[in-house]
Structure formats: structure tokens, C-alpha cells
């Protein structure tokens, strides 16, 4: 027996014992994560896979699905006029509504970051809308926008002025929803506040020494230093707006004249009202791809405008 062989023979029991221990540890680990892993597998991965399969079928939920290949997708892109309207409405909400809401949230956070009296009270007031249930929010805004006795229109009527049909004018309905969205930006405000408080004071002091005015400090220090938070809020708002459902459903049900028929509403109608779960699944997959594309675009663009203070070049 050579020296090497002897070493190998001596080492073998030790290594196999180690392997066994390692396997046991892995098994234990897997057992402990199994509730989550199984849940993820059965309640996330399986439905995702199933929805893709259903998107290739004619499926009314009540009878077995029938495989039709890509016909749902073809129909969506070639024959469904409502799909075009829905895409247009949703893109309007994303492209116009998200930046406005983001700017409003950032400006409010900047105001709340100033050492004003009763600052905690103001912060609470601005945060409350974001924790109000969507149904309550809808009820409040239905009252505010009400043409007969809403507070805005009551005032206008008392002055002998024409009322503003916020939710019944197709041109005003979407902007009216955007205003509500701006009102409920408490979550984003909190994130921006955290980012604002993280901006090093030394940068402002240096800028002051260099003679920078308040606007220059805001534009050249505050905003760049908050861009990681802006990126985060932008992406989450973007995804949330693409999937928007509750408020438009409760406030307008897609009207007037399809002005607020957003993607989520159309998907829901197809799935649960029209018994077209296969078609709705195809809609869901297209929405998923659109969100992925938008997210990638934002991420790719972020290299140009997001500044990570601690990043190593």
C-alpha cells in the first residue's frame, strides 16, 4: 500500500461521515423551509404555470379547458377593439399619472423634511390616506367629486358657476383618478423622507460655502442623493398603476364611455363576468410582459440618472 492509498483509506470514513452530516443538515434545512417552499410551489409557481396554460385555451371555468394554441393572443392583438382602448387608458395613467404622483410625493416629503412646527402632525396627516382602505377612499372621493352635494361643486353652484363633472366627463375622469392617487401617496412620502434625512449635511454646508442657492442645493444635491429612492418608488408605482383595479371599479366601473376602463377592470370582467378565463389569462400574461418591459427600461435608464452615494466606480 502506497502512502497515498493509506491516506485515502484513513480519510474515507471521515469524509463519508462528513458527507452524511452535511446531507442531514441540508435535509433539515429543506424541511424547515418546506412550508414556505411548498407554499411557493403550489400557490405561486403552479398558478403562474396554470395561467399560462389556460391562456392557450378556451376556458369558462365551469367546463374543461379546450386547447386553442395562440388564438387568444392573436384575437387580442388583431380583433379586440376594447383591448386598444384599455391599453391606451392604462398607459395614460402610467405615463401621466405616475410621474405626477411621484413629483407630488417628493415635494410633500421635502416640505415635511423642513423643521416646521407640528411636523409630526403634518407627517401623520399625509400618511393617513395611504392606510385608509380603498373602499373608504372611494367613498370619500365620491362625496368630494359629487356633482349635487360634493364640497367642490356645492361651492361652485353657490357662486352660480357650472359644476365640474369630475367622474362623468370622459375627459376629466382619468385626471380625477390621478388626483386621488396623488392624495394617497403617504407610503412614497415616508420613503422619500427617509432618503431626504439620509442626505449628508456636509454636502449642503459645502454648497453653501460655494454660494449655492436653495434651488441649486435642491437640484444638485437633494434630488441626486434621493435618486435610489425615486427609482424604487417609480418602479413600485408603475407596477401598481398597471394593475390598478379597486378605485376605478368603485368610482366609475370603467365609465364614462370607457374613459377609465383600465387593464385590471377588463381582465376581471373577462375572467369573472364573461366566463372567459382563458382570455383573461392571456390578458394577464400580456400585462406581465408589459410590466417586465417597462421595469427593464426603467432599470436600464437608471444607470444614467440614479446616483448611489456609496457605489464604487
Amino acid at each position: 500500500m502506497t502512502a497515498t492509498q493509506a491516506t485515502w483509506h484513513r480519510a474515507k470514513p471521515a469524509r463519508s461521515g462528513m458527507l452524511l452530516r452535511e446531507l442531514r443538515r441540508i435535509a433539515k434545512g429543506l424541511a424547515f423551509v418546506s412550508p414556505w417552499a411548498l407554499g411557493f410551489l403550489f400557490f405561486t409557481i403552479y398558478p403562474i404555470g396554470a395561467s399560462f396554460y389556460y391562456s392557450l385555451t378556451r376556458y369558462d371555468v365551469l367546463r374543461p379547458p379546450k386547447f386553442i394554441g395562440l388564438r387568444n393572443y392573436v384575437e387580442l392583438f388583431t380583433r379586440d377593439e376594447m383591448f386598444v382602448i384599455v391599453i391606451r387608458n392604462t398607459l395614460f395613467m402610467v405615463i401621466v399619472g405616475v410621474p405626477i404622483a411621484l413629483v407630488v410625493a417628493f415635494l410633500l416629503a421635502s416640505l415635511l423634511n423642513n423643521p416646521v412646527r407640528l411636523r409630526p402632525v403634518f407627517r401623520t396627516i399625509f400618511f393617513i390616506p395611504s392606510i385608509v382602505p380603498a373602499v373608504a377612499t372611494a367613498m370619500v372621493w365620491l362625496w368630494i367629486y359629487n356633482t349635487q352635494w360634493g364640497m367642490i361643486n356645492t361651492f361652485l353652484a353657490s357662486q352660480g358657476l357650472p359644476i365640474i363633472p369630475f367622474l362623468s366627463d370622459p375627459n376629466l375622469a382619468k385626471p380625477s383618478l390621478i388626483i386621488i392617487n396623488c392624495w394617497a401617496q403617504g407610503g412614497s412620502i415616508v420613503i422619500f423622507l427617509a432618503a431626504l434625512q439620509d442626505v449628508p449635511r456636509t454636502l449642503y454646508e459645502a454648497a453653501l460655502v460655494d454660494g449655492a442657492g436653495s434651488w441649486q442645493r435642491f437640484w444638485n444635491i437633494t434630488i441626486p442623493m434621493c435618486t435610489p429612492a425615486i427609482l424604487f418608488v417609480l418602479i413600485t408605482d408603475l407596477i401598481g398603476t398597471f394593475q390598478s383595479f379597486t378605485l376605478p371599479w368603485l368610482l366609475t366601473e370603467g365609465g364614462p364611455n370607457n374613459a377609465t376602463e383600465l387593464y385590471g377592470l377588463y381582465l376581471y370582467r373577462n375572467a369573472f363576468r364573461f366566463f372567459k378565463m382563458g382570455y383573461a389569462s392571456a390578458l394577464a400574461w400580456i400585462l406581465f410582459l408589459v410590466i417586465v418591459i417597462f421595469t427593464i427600461l426603467v432599470f436600464r435608464s437608471s444607470a444614467r440618472w440614479v446616483y448611489y452615494g456609496g457605489a464604487i466606480e
Binding site: A31, F42, D60, N146, T147, P165, F274, F275
Partner: protein
């Protein structure tokens, strides 16, 4: 006592979790057709004849799901169990379509249900056929039920639902007598045609100095004028006297001069107020007979609504003086008295765990005792001749008009078995919007209506 080690505990947890998962998977899948055993007529037990049976060791529990959430329905379920202690009815109210569809798809439907989308469910044959059981029933006489109500549950000659709980007539021109008088109109001569109705609309619509609508004469799309499905027929084809869907030929007919005229009439009524102002008015007050609805608070004079209106007005707006008449028809059909049955059904989804017991409960809902509980609690009437003859209809002012209308109508029809009713409803609503807002002409709307429904129907029957 020997304690479990952590490993044993983990193993047993995983094993039981896996078993539960497998068990839940086993229950899933498309609902199976009823077994021959299940389709045999059950031993019917008329509530009136029931001798309380000796309490068995374990009663069968059946689930009854309804869209409504009124506890009167729990009362009627409890009353049934008093007569049949071997069957306990668990009532679940406020069930929406999503919940029912999810349960049906998962293979766990309730034993019985009374939920809206009857034509869709019946025409897809996902409910148990009941004709044999109905024929064999000793609890109620099928001939006592309006033929039109049976027709609303019939597909290819087979009946899929019991017309129970609520199922009487849908149409009446409901008008506020005081507002009519105030406008200098004669409440004794209500409009018979759409042109006459427009005159009423014009005279009773008021604006403030800034041009805002403060009172609307007649919103033709309010209540039953705009409701399709969930037990309600499609009003506009009935007013114009045509059948919009041919069940035998499986064909829609909505691109015709009558439908075009109907769209034009709707637009004319809305144009008087202004599309946006009318929409704003509807949003502000709400529609139907809700507590703040224009019709109830006296800012809307006329609406088309069903037999429940007298009861609801008595509760919501007892101070309002409401009268009832025939719904308007086009000039060419002057004199036509249009009425339609509609309403709800108790059906047994395929896969119902206890169909015989569920049917017995359905039979009970057809009895006078159950109808009394429902009428007293909710003011709803069934589609039964004998009950209408004995019910105290003087309880609500104006209800007698609806009861008499069944005999006086020149056209008494039923809900059409349109297998895509909710698509029909949504498409109609959206096309009305498009016409009202001037995006489409009535001709374009009718053509699109026809194309959409034909296309969707073809997909539905595609096998």
C-alpha cells in the same frame, strides 16, 4: 408518556401536510356529472304534511348559497329544518359570482344555490336537470307556476332550476304623481309611447341658472330599463316587440331597425339633459330605489321598475305618491301592454354533495309557508298563481297593478336563455354610452352589438 423527538415531529408534520395537500388536490377538478342514483326523484316531503320525524343521530347538512344577504333567508332555512330535522340548511348570503365559480371549478360547489347568472349556468348545463324530480313532486303543482317562469330555466326541454324565493313581473312605468301634477301633466293619462314619454321627460326636467340638472323627468336606463341578467330580461327588445336571441337557431338579432330606434330613443332622452349632466346626476343620487336615489328623494319623476317597487318605496320613501302603468312602446305598437316574468331560481350545481336533500329544500321554498316568510320579510313574490291569489297585496300601495298586469298584459314573456347574458349586458351598456356621448351612431352601435354578440356566441359554442 413518550415525547416525540424533533425529527419525528417534523416528519409527522410533513406527512400530514402532504396528505392534506393530496386530499385537497383530489377534490379539485371539473365537476362530475350527476350519478344515476342522484337523479332519481327524492322522497318529497311537503312542508304542510310533514310530521316531524324522530331526530336522527346525525342530520345531513346542506349548504345554500345566495347572492342576497338578508337574514330572512336564514329564517326560511331554519323553518325548513323544523319540518325536516334530518336536514340542516346552512345558509350563506352575499355570495358573489367569483366565489361560486371558484368553488365549482375546485369541485366543491354548494348543495344548492340562488345566484344570478342563470342563463349562463343553465345553458352550459353545469346544473343538475330537475324535470323528473319536478314532475314527481308532491309538494307543489308545476302547473301552479307561471309557464314563463319555467321557460326561464329551460334548456332543450330540460328544467334546471326551481323558480323560488323571488320571481314575479319586471316591468312597470313608475311615476311620481306629485311631480307629474306640478308639471301640469295628467297623472291619470300616463304616456303610452316613447314620444309621449319624452314629452313628460321634457316637462319635468329642470335646470338651475348655471345649467345644472336639478330634476330629471325620465331616465330610461334607470333600474329595469338598463338591467339585463341576474334574473332580469332585456327591456328594449321587449318594448319594441322582438326577440333578440333565437335559442333554437342560436342566433342573435340586434342589428335591426327596432334596435337602432331604441338606441335613438335613449340618446334623445339623454340629449335633453346632456350626456355628462345625466351621468353626473345618476352618480350623485344613485339609481333604482336606493335611499338617496333620485326617484326616492323626488328629483327624478319616472323610472321603469319591477313589482318590488311599491314595497321598497313604502320603506324608503313612504311620503312619495307613486303610481304605476304600462311601459312605453314605439308609436307603431301603441296599445301593446308589455310585461315579463323574471326572477330567481334554486339550482343544484353538478357535483352537489346532497342533491336529494337540496331538492327537498328547494321544494319547501315553493310552499306557501316559505313564500309567506319571504313576502313578510322582504316583500318578494313568487311566480305561483295560487300564492298571488291568496297573498295580501293590499299591503303595499300599487302592488295590485303589478299583480293584475299578468292577466291584462297583451305580451307576457320571459327571460331569454341567452348563454352570454353578461356579455350582452356589458356590450349594451357600453354601446349606449358610445351613442349617448356621440362616439357612435345608433346604426353603428346596432351593427357592433350584432358583431360582438355573434362572435362571442360562436366562441362559447366552439367545441
Amino acid at each position: 408518556m413518550r415525547l416525540l423527538t424533533r425529527r419525528q415531529m417534523l416528519a409527522s408534520t410533513l406527512a400530514s401536510g402532504g396528505a392534506a395537500l393530496l386530499a385537497s388536490c383530489a377534490g379539485a377538478g371539473t365537476t362530475a356529472p350527476a350519478t344515476p342514483e342522484a337523479t332519481k326523484p327524492p322522497q318529497a316531503t311537503p312542508a304542510e304534511q310533514v310530521t316531524p320525524a324522530p331526530k336522527q343521530a346525525e342530520a345531513v347538512t346542506i349548504q345554500w348559497w345566495t347572492g342576497w344577504s338578508s337574514t330572512t333567508l336564514a329564517d326560511v332555512a331554519a323553518k325548513f329544518s323544523e319540518h325536516a330535522p334530518e336536514i340542516k340548511v346552512e345558509w350563506l348570503g352575499g355570495v358573489d359570482q367569483e366565489k361560486f365559480l371558484t368553488a365549482a371549478a375546485g369541485g366543491t360547489p354548494p348543495d344548492a344555490a340562488t345566484l344570478g347568472a342563470y342563463p349562463e349556468l343553465f345553458s352550459r348545463k353545469v346544473c343538475m336537470p330537475l324535470s323528473d324530480w319536478i314532475k314527481a313532486s308532491t309538494v307543489f303543482d308545476p302547473a301552479d307556476v307561471f309557464e314563463a317562469s319555467w321557460n326561464g330555466a329551460k334548456v332543450e326541454g330540460e328544467i334546471y332550476g326551481l323558480p323560488a324565493v323571488e320571481g314575479f313581473v319586471r316591468y312597470g312605468l313608475c311615476y311620481n304623481v306629485d311631480l307629474v301634477k306640478e308639471a301640469g301633466l295628467d297623472p291619470e293619462s300616463p304616456p303610452q309611447t316613447w314620444d309621449e314619454a319624452y314629452v313628460w321627460h321634457e316637462k319635468m326636467t329642470k335646470f338651475d341658472q348655471a345649467g345644472n340638472a336639478v330634476q330629471v323627468g325620465f331616465d330610461p336606463l334607470d333600474a329595469m330599463g338598463g338591467s339585463i341578467g341576474f334574473g332580469d330580461p332585456f327591456f328594449w327588445p321587449k318594448s319594441w316587440g322582438f326577440v333578440y336571441y333565437d335559442v333554437e337557431a342560436k342566433k342573435f338579432d340586434v342589428d335591426n331597425p327596432q334596435m337602432i330606434e331604441a338606441f335613438s330613443v335613449i340618446k334623445r332622452f339623454y340629449d335633453l339633459v346632456g350626456a355628462q349632466k345625466m351621468a353626473a346626476f345618476r352618480q350623485s343620487y344613485g339609481t333604482w330605489t336606493g335611499p338617496s336615489a333620485g326617484f326616492c328623494v323626488g328629483t327624478q319623476a319616472v323610472q321603469i321598475n319591477g313589482y318590488w317597487t311599491p314595497g321598497e318605496m313604502a320603506h324608503v320613501a313612504p311620503d312619495k305618491n307613486i303610481s304605476y302603468s304600462w311601459v312605453p312602446v314605439p308609436e307603431g305598437r301603441r296599445g301593446a301592454k308589455v310585461q315579463s316574468m323574471g326572477g330567481h331560481y334554486v339550482f343544484l350545481p353538478v357535483g352537489s354533495p346532497h342533491p336529494k336533500e337540496a331538492f327537498r329544500f328547494g321544494e319547501y321554498l315553493m310552499t306557501d309557508e316559505a313564500c309567506d316568510i319571504i313576502y313578510d320579510g322582504l316583500g318578494w313574490l313568487p311566480a305561483r298563481h295560487s300564492y298571488l291569489a291568496k297573498a295580501d297585496i293590499s299591503k303595499y300601495k300599487g302592488l295590485d297593478w303589478f299583480v293584475k298586469s299578468v292577466d291584462e298584459a297583451t305580451e307576457l314573456t320571459e327571460v331569454v336563455m341567452d348563454p352570454i347574458t353578461q356579455i350582452t349586458s356589458t356590450t349594451f351598456t357600453k354601446l349606449c354610452d358610445a351613442v349617448i356621448y356621440g362616439d357612435k351612431t345608433p346604426q353603428e352601435a346596432a351593427a357592433e352589438f350584432q358583431a360582438t354578440l355573434t362572435d362571442e356566441l360562436q366562441k362559447m359554442f366552439e367545441e
